[in-house]
Amino acid sequence: MTKKKLLLNIFGPILSVVVLIGIWQAIVVWGNVAPYIAPKPWDAINAVTSNWSTLAPLTWWTIKETVYGYLVGALLGAFLGVVLNKIPLMQRVLYPLLILTQAIPIIALAPPLVMILGFGVMPKVVIVAWIVFFPVTVSVLDGLNHVDKDLMTLAKVFGANSLRRFVVLEMPAAVTQLFSGLKIGATYAVTGAIIGELAASSGSSLALYQRSASGSLDAAGVYGTTLIMTAIGIVWFLLVVGAEYIATPWQRRSTARQWRRGAKPVVTNN
């Protein structure tokens, strides 16, 4: 990446956020919007920082719900993708069922989950996983279905058994696709956690804090919690992008990183 490109990559997003905040500020100030309807950006940020001792543990909970749910969903999704690819019958039996799961409104899912799993972190994890697994399954399935047939043939000629063909060729070939599913899932995950918190919370939660703020006409609190939720979503998305960057170096590099095992630089007589 050239220096110019790097600068653009860093300052481009920052600039767009600044512009967005500017528009927000302009609407609130020039539109004479009352502070109990919508706060100025700074007031929303202030509502977070000045209440951080209350918000920090709630934020931490939401992060946990998001991350646990995401991991469960991603693993389950990848597993299902493989199952669907490997067992053709499953594509007919399971696929409609999987689509059905996504057609159920998440809101309808919440009450039975609470009854079975209680008010803790579990029902949120299930809801997040429920949302996240699907794009992952679809992308893994897509990736596996599009592995070069000739490459698989070649591997057979080389005498590779099906497990090796899967591990050495199909899995890495599906990784690029997998990440597109993981990224979509990452953007949805925090939404799932918040829906879960609204549906059932013990003690407090970010969603409930927001609801209370809304009930108190504390728009700064409402927007502030929204900022936190958004930040969780963005940071998680960026982490997934970072993982993709590390996991798929061939997508943007011409040589392997030197420290990676199995791709050592040429060392004669080692």
Binding site: P35, I37, P111, A200, L217
Partner: protein, 332 residues
């Protein structure tokens, strides 16, 4: 305080749309002579507390007072005051605690009439359970997470000599099933919602500690409110609205079966059974008049008591003059 918070929000939005269309279609002929008023409920979906408005629509009380009233439901709870201030609604139905926080937030709204006169809020449990202040410690108690419930729970704890950490407050989408399968021990609600709901599910009346017994201040729970602007510019409409509502309320109190039928016809998909709405309305009627048998009348004392109580649990910072909250000048 009301049930089915989440699932109703969707249904509510749909209903709000359909009822608006139906009403506007039905009133084309008289549109020129009637003044349009937008009424905003306190909850995303309709329930039996809206009966006075429905009856006034259906039985012609609004028309007789020159009004064409449409009903809007907020996308979620506690947004009604905001909808009034942005002009999306004219007359709102809110809790007195909503009113207090609105004034604290300097939202230019004012209460124009009490809906109910007493505090019928409390804790409820399955029939046959032990529910006393002494039995609260270590229990899971359901809350809707709304301002009113947030305001009341500290009073219960105070009276029970408990700390907040002595109980677990849980929040969710619907309390009755959770109560039935023991996921929660007690729920918080008002008599007119809790009793029909639990009775319907268990075939017998719940146990409860309500009002003074629960340690909560005895103040009205719901009021009708408008913005200062609307009060100043359309006082005539407010007066006409309350006049129609009073007539409709009296009619609905003496024709309860008919009133519930009007509600069920207006909102066939409210999610509430005829049993629930009938029982709920029957329990609501006695709440609507004060000890002198009068509707609507607000007092300095009720607002001072409420504001003092809310300040003591830190929901508001200061107790303003009671006149900041209300006016009786539009009463019929």
């Amino acid at each position: 305080m009301k049930r089915n918070f989440l699932s109703l929000s969707v249904a509510g939005a749909v209903l709000a749309l359909s009822s608006v269309t139906v009403l506007s279609a039905g009133s084309i002929a008289s549109a020129s002579t009637l003044t349009a008023v937008k009424f905003v409920y306190d909850f995303p979906g309709p329930d039996m507390e809206i009966i006075p408005v429905v009856v006034a629509q259906k039985e012609g009380f609004f028309k007789a007072n020159g009004l064409n009233v449409s009903v809007e439901f907020p996308p979620s709870t506690s947004l009604t005051t905001q909808l009034l201030t942005t002009g999306s609604g004219d007359i709102g139905f809110i809790t007195t605690s909503d009113m207090a926080v609105a004034v604290e937030a300097k939202a230019p709204v004012i209460s124009v009439a009490n809906y109910s006169m007493t505090n019928n809020w409390g804790l409820f449990a399955k029939p046959g359970s032990t529910l006393t202040l002494a039995s609260l410690k270590g229990k899971k108690i359901f809350s809707w997470g709304d301002t009113w419930t947030n305001a009341m729970i500290p009073f219960v704890l105070k009276k029970a000599h408990l700390k907040a950490s002595d109980i677990t407050i849980v929040t969710g989408a619907n309390d009755t099933p959770l109560l039935m399968n023991g996921t929660i021990n007690f729920t918080t609600s008002t008599t007119n919602y809790a009793i029909p709901g639990i009775t319907e599910a268990t075939k017998s009346a719940p146990v409860g500690i309500v009002g003074a017994a629960a340690g909560v201040p005895n103040v009205p729970v719901w009021v009708y409110a408008v913005t200062h602007n609307y009060a100043n510019q359309h006082g005539k409409n407010v007066r006409a609205f309350l006049k129609a509502i009073k007539a409709a309320t009296i009619w609905a109190s003496s024709h309860q079966t008919k009133a519930v039928a009007d509600f069920m016809a207006a909102y066939p998909k409210s999610g509430y059974s005829k049993f629930y709405s009938t029982k709920g309305w029957a329990l609501t009627v006695p709440l609507l008049t004060n000890s002198a048998g009068k509707y609507f009348v607000q007092t300095n004392k009720q607002w001072t008591t409420l504001a003092t109580a809310l300040k003591s649990v830190k929901l508001i910072k200061s107790v303003p003059a009671p006149s900041t909250y209300y006016t009786n000048k539009f009463l019929p």
